[in-house]
């Protein structure tokens, strides 16, 4: 039976890994290559690497760094950050990544999703959306550029459009829950699940095995992304890379 995926999500900033809280500047948590080696040993389901400097600094992916990370990895990899063209996506796949994520560039020009699907296949195209819950109105607002730029398009409308254009997976990242370790936004997960049939992953809020179980209970087979839970340990948030998942997912 297909199992839910438990996915450490690592943020690359200034060449190191950081962990943010509500997208505010993060704490240094280690070296990316070292983290890949540790997660290999832990036999993780999948790993997501996001370069949070690329888009805001208007640069493309750091291919040399990605090559080094992919060679070491014995687990499936997804990369996001600064990808604006199908040719870049194809190059990242050829380096040994299974999936390439786009966000800001796809919101600016949705046809990029279609072009990527043609170049690397639907299964390797991931659309990641950072969202905040609206304060007054119902629903959520999409943000790009590390939460700094507000997008006008409706979340559910865009998720449907992305699926039609050839996305293979939707990743939804809750800015409100980022780094809080208070649990996933399950309403958000249910809304996205009802909108489209393709694979989906949630990020933002995971702090315990219970939170992951609650997400699976709410939406079925899913990708459960987590940052803080796998890089911090104990009440004082000492940096320690670890990996845990619900017993039902361990065979």
């Amino acid at each position: 039976m297909l199992r839910s995926r438990v996915i450490p999500c690592l943020l690359i900033h200034d060449g190191g890994l950081v962990k943010t809280e509500k997208f505010r500047p993060g704490k240094y948590v280690g070296d990316p290559l070292n983290a890949v080696k540790i997660f290999n040993e832990k036999q993780v389901d999948e790993l997501m690497l996001l370069d949070i400097d690329a888009t805001v600094n208007r640069r493309g992916p750091d291919f040399a760094r990605l090559r080094n990370l992919a060679v070491e990895s014995r687990m499936p990899l997804c990369y996001g950050g600064g990808v604006t063209g199908a040719d870049e996506a194809a190059r990242i796949i050829s380096l040994g990544f299974e999936k390439v994520s786009v966000s800001a560039a796809a919101l600016k020009r949705p046809d990029l999703i279609k072009e990527m699907a043609r170049a690397v296949g639907t299964q390797s195209v991931v659309v990641t959306l950072d969202v905040r819950k609206n304060a007054m109105l119902p629903g959520y607002t999409i943000f790009t550029h590390n939460g700094r730029t507000k997008e006008r398009v409706d979340l559910i409308d865009f998720v449907r459009q992305a699926a039609e254009l050839g996305a293979g997976e939707i990743v939804v990242n809750s800015i409100d829950r980022d780094g809080t370790m208070t649990g996933y936004d399950l309403d958000l997960a249910r809304q996205v699940r009802q909108a489209v049939g393709l694979p989906m992953s949630m990020i933002g809020g995971a702090g315990s095995i219970n939170h992951i179980e609650a997400l699976i209970e709410a939406v079925g087979v899913v990708g459960a992304g987590a940052g803080s839970m796998f890089v911090f340990n104990g009440p004082y948030r000492a940096v320690l890379i670890s990996y845990r998942k619900p017993p039902a997912l361990v065979s």
Binding site: T122, E169, V222
Partner: protein, 204 residues
């Protein structure tokens, strides 16, 4: 010497890295002369069917592979789309496949998958081997492998199916015919189980 065939369509470095750790002699190459001297072939492949076939043809190595694998009986394994091109043709493209294992690549029937997520088939899934194929020796079948695909190998001869994966229905996920093998999942990204497959292939 195992040749990891480098035709620009696959994840050659992760496979090479695993063989390096296993101390299995290997070479990453797209050179016909080097290929002809090898004892076995790993054909990786990601992307669309036609694109992978076109890359193979552009490199001018189809004849060499046909000679070494079909006539001289050297072993070969295709991975993911590298497995799909072993078939005769695919619903995903117009080009002919290598036709080494009779079959057709079809889109997984979404209607048979009751609840979302539907396609692509993405993530870790158990496999059910048929019999006890040497390629799957030492594999924890319950733990299974990482899958990432929307098309599957519909084998013309059921006896060529070495293992199936349940996704809507039982789909062939490992095929074999004599010296030629194919796996739909990604052994290079499936931790210990994947390492076991690559080791088994090297030892065949």
């Amino acid at each position: 010497m195992i040749a990891i065939v480098d035709y620009g369509s696959g994840n050659v470095s992760a496979i090479a890295n695993i063989y390096k750790q296993l101390k299995v002699p290997h070479v990453v190459t797209g050179d016909p002369a080097v290929l002809a001297a090898a004892d076995g072939y790993v054909l990786p492949g990601v992307g669309a069917f036609d694109r992978v076939m076109a890359d193979l043809i552009r490199l001018g190595i189809v004849d060499t592979l046909n000679t070494e694998i079909l006539r001289n009986g050297k072993k070969a394994i295709g991975i993911c789309v590298g497995m799909q091109i072993l078939a005769n043709a695919s619903d995903e493209g117009q080009m002919s496949g290598l036709g080494w294992i009779p079959g057709h690549i079809r889109r997984i029937d979404e209607n048979r998958i009751v609840t979302a997520p539907k396609l692509p088939h993405m993530g870790w899934n158990s496999i059910a081997p048929r019999g006890n194929p040497a390629l799957l020796r030492g594999v924890d079948t319950e733990r299974g492998f990482y899958f990432l695909h929307s098309y599957f190998f519909d084998a013309a001869d059921d006896s060529n199916v070495l293992a199936t994966v349940e996704y809507g229905t039982a789909l062939a996920c490992a095929v074999g015919r004599g010296n030629i093998f194919g796996v739909q999942f990604h052994p290079e990204k499936s931790h210990d189980n994947g390492v076991a497959i690559l080791r088994n292939f090297a030892e065949l």
